[in-house]
């Protein structure tokens, strides 16, 4: 009985009101896309196991949409991207009241694609 009380006393309250201000460095959270680096190679879209990334090529631009609703945060896209255009951050607060906000689209222009020497 006494050893139980002693254990409780020694442990004290361990509950944290906020688990961490920031997730650990290695945490695979929200993927972000830097359009200026994209070469339009589609490696991310084809390797995404959840089909969360879609690339649409128009005449002079390429539109990449990323759905956080489908993303499983595996980090394969960041791994296959040769120019680090997609990277996973440690941002984990992704909840929103509007489901449409979970899909983000970004455009990269053809000019930028050409400077990387990659044909569209």
């Amino acid at each position: 009985m006494f050893d139980l009380i002693r254990k409780i006393w020694r442990t004290k309250t361990v509950t944290k009101t906020e688990l961490f201000t920031e997730a650990p460095e290695r945490f695979r959270g929200k993927p972000v896309f830097t359009s200026s680096k994209c070469t339009g190679c589609e490696a991310c879209a084809t390797s995404c196991p959840a089909g969360a990334i879609t690339l649409q090529q128009n005449d002079d631009a390429i539109t990449l949409s990323l759905s956080y609703a489908h993303c499983i945060f595996c980090g394969i896209c960041a791994e296959v991207c040769e120019t680090n255009a997609i990277q996973l951050t440690n941002e984990y607060r992704l909840a929103t009241k509007n489901k449409n906000e979970l899909t983000v689209s970004q455009q990269a222009t053809l000019a930028k694609l050409l400077t990387t020497g990659k044909e569209v």
Partner: protein, 455 residues
């Protein structure tokens, strides 16, 4: 497919079945462990076992059309099955003294769906019908035609708490199909993470079993230590449940020198705290009184049903696939496999406690031996229609994945036999003769997961 631990070999028995009359003689009477497998193959593939003692549906509940078999290749993935009049049947009791108590499929806690129907005489359980497979997801069907790289993520999502065991078993199957030897460092890392998975599960389970008899200090201390371990997992791999650390042909996550020190320090602390918890629990008279002689699974039942994992070792059945068919780096570390003869809840909690300390020792050896080098190799072109197996001792027991490769690096057929699948049929036998209030305790001591069946 049979495994003979004594000879360290697998034996595959193949037979041809007439496509016009897909039947085969049942062996469930001679091998009670075959019961579920035969019923499943009847449900999903329509191969009918002749002379099976229990013809009830297993995976597909009675309201699924009898002539529709989802795992057949002519069943399209998007086909919708009409609901028919249920053929579901539970044990019927003729005596008025037997009270039927239905529990579930929705439970008070946050556990998964399962329906239990007790036939009780007063407080004592006469018979238990367990109805599972409520949320069968058809992952094996969904994986057909999927590139193996993507199917790895599907395998990882079969179960939440043995995610790593499933992904490693799948990766091993693919690597065996492609004759790939993974780099030694990857072997060590897989072993390290597998033991971290076992640790957080076992320590959490020891705490959870305390919930079976309302020992609040045990519950909260167990939960606290599990949280410490999960935060460690997150710091070193980026995921609390160790998802996304395996790749086909090696590992995706490596540990740095600094993280090695982090693992060492955290485990030192958890070990000390866990030792205190164990001392409190095993010297507590009421706790021992509730656990001892409760829910005894007899050795002959465990052998007949080919029970695996903690439940087997607590009933005197010495099986541990880490020792019997070593994989990853388990042949390069020393560990002891605890075996108890009693087969009760106390024996099962003791096996877990002993294994926790074994895991600490394994991790210590691994951190000392960890070799430098690559952690990944490439998977070559896989020969279509070649099949291979991968296995892994998950915290619940041995998990076996069988894969047949299809054209263009895809999965043609896939079958997952999780530890839970082997152990569920044993629970009704262990429950028999106990009182109804002890059922949650017995169930927790087996710690079986529903998702592993509902794959």
């Amino acid at each position: 497919m049979f495994s003979f631990d004594r000879f360290r070999h697998f034996l595959t028995v193949k037979t041809l079945i007439n496509p016009l009359d897909p039947t085969f003689p049942s062996v469930a009477v001679q091998l009670p462990a075959a019961n579920w497998y035969e019923r499943e193959v009847k449900d999903l593939l329509g191969l009918r076992p002749q002379g099976h003692p229990d013809p009830r549906p297993l995976v597909l509940h009675g309201d699924w059309p009898e002539d529709l078999h989802p795992l057949r290749k002519d069943f399209p993935l998007d086909q919708h099955a009409p609901r028919v009049q249920s053929r579901e049947a539970f044990m019927r009791y003729d005596s008025e003294d037997v009270t039927e108590i239905p529990v579930g499929p929705i439970h008070a806690g946050i556990i998964e769906p399962g329906h239990f129907r007790f036939g009780a005489v007063g407080d004592t359980i006469l018979h238990l019908d367990a109805r599972l497979f409520f949320t069968h997801r058809g992952l094996e069907k969904a994986s057909e035609g999927m590139p193996v790289q993507k199917a790895l993520f599907l395998a990882e999502r079969i179960c939440g708490v043995c995610a790593l065991s499933h992904s490693i078993a799948f990766a091993q199957a693919i690597e065996r199909a492609g004759n790939v030897t993974i780099p030694p460092r990857a072997d060590y890392l897989r072993t390290l993470f597998l033991e971290l998975e076992r640790l957080y599960n076992h320590i959490g389970d020891v705490g959870n079993i305390c919930a079976g008899f309302g020992f609040a200090v045990g519950i909260s201390q167990g939960a606290r230590l599990k949280e410490e371990l999960q935060q460690l997992n997150e710091r070193i791999t980026g995921h609390r449940y160790l998802r996304g650390v395996v790749s086909l042909g090696g590992m995706r996550a490596d540990v740095t020198e600094q993280e090695r020190e982090d693992i060492y320090q955290t485990l030192q602390y958890v070990k000390k705290e866990f030792k205190e918890l164990v001392d409190l629990l095993l010297t507590h008279d009421i706790a021992i009184n509730r656990m001892a002689t409760t829910g005894i699974l007899r050795l002959e039942h465990a052998n007949d049903l080919e029970v695996v994992g903690v439940a087997a070792r607590a009933s005197g059945r010495s099986v541990d696939i880490r020792r019997d068919q070593p994989y990853a780096a388990y042949d390069r570390v020393h560990f002891h496999v605890p075996v108890y003869k009693e087969g009760d809840v106390l024996a099962r909690i003791r096996v877990r406690i002993d294994e926790v300390f074994e895991s600490f020792s394994i991790i210590k050896q691994l951190l000392q031996q960890l070799l430098d080098g690559d952690i990944r190799t490439n998977i070559p072109n896989l020969t279509p229609y070649r099949s291979a197996m991968g296995w892994c001792e998950s915290p619940r027991g041995e998990t076996v994945h069988w894969v047949m490769i299809g054209p263009n690096q895809t999965v043609y057929r896939y079958r997952v036999r999780s530890a839970t699948y082997s152990n569920w049929p044993a629970v009704p036998l262990a429950v028999k003769g106990n009182i109804v209030p002890d059922f949650p305790l017995i169930n927790k001591s087996f710690e079986l997961c529903y998702a592993c069946c509902d794959r």
